[in-house]
Structure formats: C-alpha cells, structure tokens
Amino acid sequence: RPVIVVHGGAWAVPDALAEVSVAGVKAATRAGNVTLMRGGGALDAVEVAVRTMEDDPAFDAGHGAVLNTDGEVELDALIMEGRTLATGAVSSVRNIANPVSLARAVMEKVHSPPPPPPPPLPFPHAPLFCAACLYRLFTCERVKTSSAHLASPRAESVTLPKLHRDRGSCPEGGAMAGCNPTPVGSWAHDTVGAVALDSCGNVASATSTGGIRYKMVGRVGDSPVIGSGGYADNRSGAVSCTGHGESILKVTLARLILSHMDRGKAACEAVERSLRYMGERVQGGGGAVAVAPTGDWTACFTTERMAWAAIHGGILHY
C-alpha cells in the first residue's frame, strides 16, 4: 500500500512557528497522498509534497528561505527515483519558485535540447523571494520567475513592498521590529523533504532548502548532494534528511541509513543508529524520514523538534 512521509526540518523549532510547521507538513502530506491515491507515482507525490512546502513561507525552502551573507536567497534541491536511480539536483539557484521542480527537470530533460534561454530579469541581483528571518517576513519586490513553466501560480500573484537589503543583519523598523538574529549554535536549518512508496512498488525522495542563515555565498550543503540529502532505491528504500548539513555530508547520512536497511534493519532503527553515529562521530544533529519497499516507514530526529507527517493506509500520522 502507498506511503508518504514528509518533514519540515529538524531544528529547535520555536513555539511561535510550531503550529504553522505542523499545519504545513500535514498539508504537504495530504497533497502528496492525493497524487498517490489517483494512481500517480512516488516521484510525482514527493514533488507535489515538496512544492507545497516550498510555497509555504513557514519553511526554509523556496518562499521563506533564509539569506546568505550577501543578503540573497540561494536554493538547493534534490529529487531521486528508485527504479532507475535517476536523479536531478540544483544548487545555489536563484529566482526559482520551486527548486524541486527544476531538479526534476534536470533529471528528465538535461539530455534533450536545452530550453530556450530565459528572458533577462530587470534587476539581476534583486532577491525575488520572501525570506523568513525568525518570526518575521522580509518583504520583497514582485515575485517573478525566469522559467515560466516552473512558476508556481501563487508566486506570480504576490506583490509586496520593496526589500530592505541590509547585509547580514535584520532591517530595523516596521515589519522587522523585534527581529533578533539567532546565535550560530542554533541556526535554523529547516530543510523540507518527502519520501514515498507507490502502488507499483516504486520509491522516491525529494529534498529542498534555502540552506543556513548567513551562509557564505555559494555554500552548498547536504540537500542537493545525492546520498547525503536524500537517496532512493527500489531495492532498499527512500530517505530524505534534514539537520546540520555539514555533518550530514560527512557521514553521507541518507546512504548510511539505507545501508542499515539493506542489512535488514527496520527503518526506525536504521535512522536512529545513523543519527546516533552522526552525533558521536561529528557532533551533528538532524532528522530523517524513510520508507522501505515493504511499506515500513519512520520519522526520527535528534534535534529538539522536527515537524513531520505521514499517510499510510488512509491514516494521517504526525
């Protein structure tokens, strides 16, 4: 029977964001499940689930992404399907509303003639997204994307006041009152992701993020790196990870989790073991959602909180 499991990021989610985060993952799970129930594949389901969260400013992906040290938004995403191991990823992309769909385009369309070049943007470096700064929204210029066929319809209709481009710190006054940058140790890293198993026995995984606040320009974390941010293989299962990106990379967390599942461990134990190893070996915290070809699934984390939801056998868990 089909399964979909979704996460909205493993980190110390503050109380003020807790409710919207849970609401967000539930909505994403339901959206992905609708796809599965209509006979759609695992790949379609994870893409839909992640798009839903990219469009939701509560999460650090697409809309709501955090800013790098230049005050700009750079996004990463990864998608993988378990039958052929086909995969697509984008890193440090700008001006794209749904990086997960761009990643899918990389996976499916890169070997055919490239699409025509996008029309030039009027302000090449203008951030064209809403970016979350703790509990407040940066406000941006009118959102446009350069790849019209990937634009989320909602993105086009949003018009917001101009962005205050204060590098490396939160703007003062008005909408930004009370904005308080978090210390390094508790940087938010609420990447979003989803895994699914469809009725044909195919698994898929998708992960998307805006990275960590005040990251260096061009910093690439775990999310777009195959085997770290996510992995999917019909023979083993699918995983999507979140947490401290550098630590996840060092232990190739997604692939590590699946290596335990390959050796017969239950999804839950595989994730717990791997997260524990990551904590001990490289002092990093995180979380993951995983699904096995049998339908066994889990959502586990070593950070304080992780918003997650799953639908299996018609029941929503969260």
Binding site: L85, S91, G221, I226, E246, R255
Partner: protein, 313 residues
Amino acid sequence: YSITLIPMLPVVVVHGGAGHIPKDRAEISCVGVKEAARAAYSILRSGGSAMDAVVEAVAMLENNPVYNAGRGSVLNVTGEVEMDALVMDGRTLASGAVSAVRRVANPIRLARLVMEKTSHLCLTAEGASQFARTMGVPEVPEESLITDYARMRWKKNLDPDTNPMECQTGKMGTVGAVAVDLEGNVACATSTGGMTNKMEGRVGDTPCVGCGGYADNHIGAVSSTGHGETIMKVTLSRLILFHMEQGKSPEEASDEALAYMKERVHGLGGVVVVDPKGVWSAHFSSLQMSWAAAQQEQLHYGLYHGEDFTEPV
C-alpha cells in the same frame, strides 16, 4: 638468512582517469601519475600527512596539461573551463569541495581551504571565486587553463551530429589520489574539469562526498573516476567502503561496486582504494585507467587491465 620486514605504511595510489585514452596519449598519461605518486610518497616517507600527500599529487596532475583537471580541463558547452574538486580527511571526516569554479590554477588547494578555513563543506561557482579572492588565491586567465587538445575536442563536439555523451566518456580523465600515512590516517583527493561540452553549471560526482571520493580512518579511502552521472547514482566511493566494512578487500569491494554500477545504471569507471593497514587497489571497468602506487619503496603502475609494472621508487 635474515628477513627484513618493510612496513606496509605509508601508501599512496594515484589515478589519471578511467575511460578510453587514445594510444598516442597513453604513455604520457602514465608518466604523469608515476611522477605524482613519487612526489606524494616522498612526502609520506618524511612523515607528512596523508592529506598533504594526496593534495600534492593531485595539484601536480592539475598543473599537467595532459589531464582533465586544472590546466588541460575539458571545456563546457560555451568553451569555458569549470572545475570541481574534493578533499576528505579520514580522521575527522572533515571535507572540502568546490564545484563549477573558474579561473583558479589548483581547485584541489581551494577545496582544502574550504575545509580548513570555513565551517562549510562545499562552495560553488561565484561563491567559490569570492572565497578564493578573500584567501588571496590568484585568479588566472581562462586561456592559461585551456589546451589546444581540449579546444579541438570541444569544437568537434559542437558538430550537431556528434553525441558528446558517447564520444567522450572518460576519454580524458578526472584525477585523484588516496593515501595512508605513517600514523594510519587516510585521505582522498579528486579533481576534474568535468565532461566535455557539458552544460554550464553541470556538476558531476567529483565534488560530492561519497561519490567522487570518501575517506574514513575506520574503513579506508577511495577516489573515483569515470562516468560522473552513474558514479553519483550508486554513490560509488561510499558503496565501496560499505563493502569493505562488511569484510571485503579493497579489490573485491571495487570489483563488486563497479560491476553493480555497470549492471544497474550502465556506467563504467575506475577507483583507487586504500585501507588503514596499507592494502590498496587500482581497479576499473572501463577500457583503461592510468594509475600508479607507491609502497615499500616500490612504484607500481599500469594502464590496461591486468597490468602491474613495478620499479623502485
């Protein structure tokens, strides 16, 4: 009579790319990896770290125009050079990488700086260049990295009738090295110009931890070369180390993983592997891979399957 036991450590294994190297370039390809292995071994013998050794070996190959790394890199579809590189330290699992970086002579050194001077593991494109500037790494002219050979291959592939994917799988190789030093620390380094006529911004396996390379003192170190997209699909380096964790030797693990890569996703490649005790291998499923290894004062090298020539270091 007496037996003198020469210790297994240190060891370095270097590769100059897996694929199909035209005969007239085959010999030069072997010369370069032998030189790099000798230089790295000398560092190790005088107590240098595995990380120093692999970075030196790869930097030499980047400077050598014969290899698809640094100078001599293949060109992307617009005729420009974009390079990827990765280093990893087996003791701490620390890692550094750059992807799609332009106009630096030694991406491997920049990757090492990412590891040592930032809290991140990978910087890409313009971000990597910005970082290079802050580190005082000089920007070099594009032309200094481009060879006639690379330009010739690029022009040929612009012909709409050629299929770059077929024409060039590993024809000119990614370079890499693994080593274990006198203290038993392992490290890996891998560097490449990528695939000829690749799309701008295309990033292959090389800078991805677990794909282009991986190093863990508890298991061993791997550096990969070959068809990047398929190496990524099977996370080749990490896969080999999973097999070694289950008790397989570097050779067995390499062959099994390469066979899996061929069967599951139809890709060919090659890997150099070393374990913390100094057992090493250089195996490939492609037609050729230039490689050289130094251990116990002996230099081993080869190009075609089954070759293992030896001479004193």
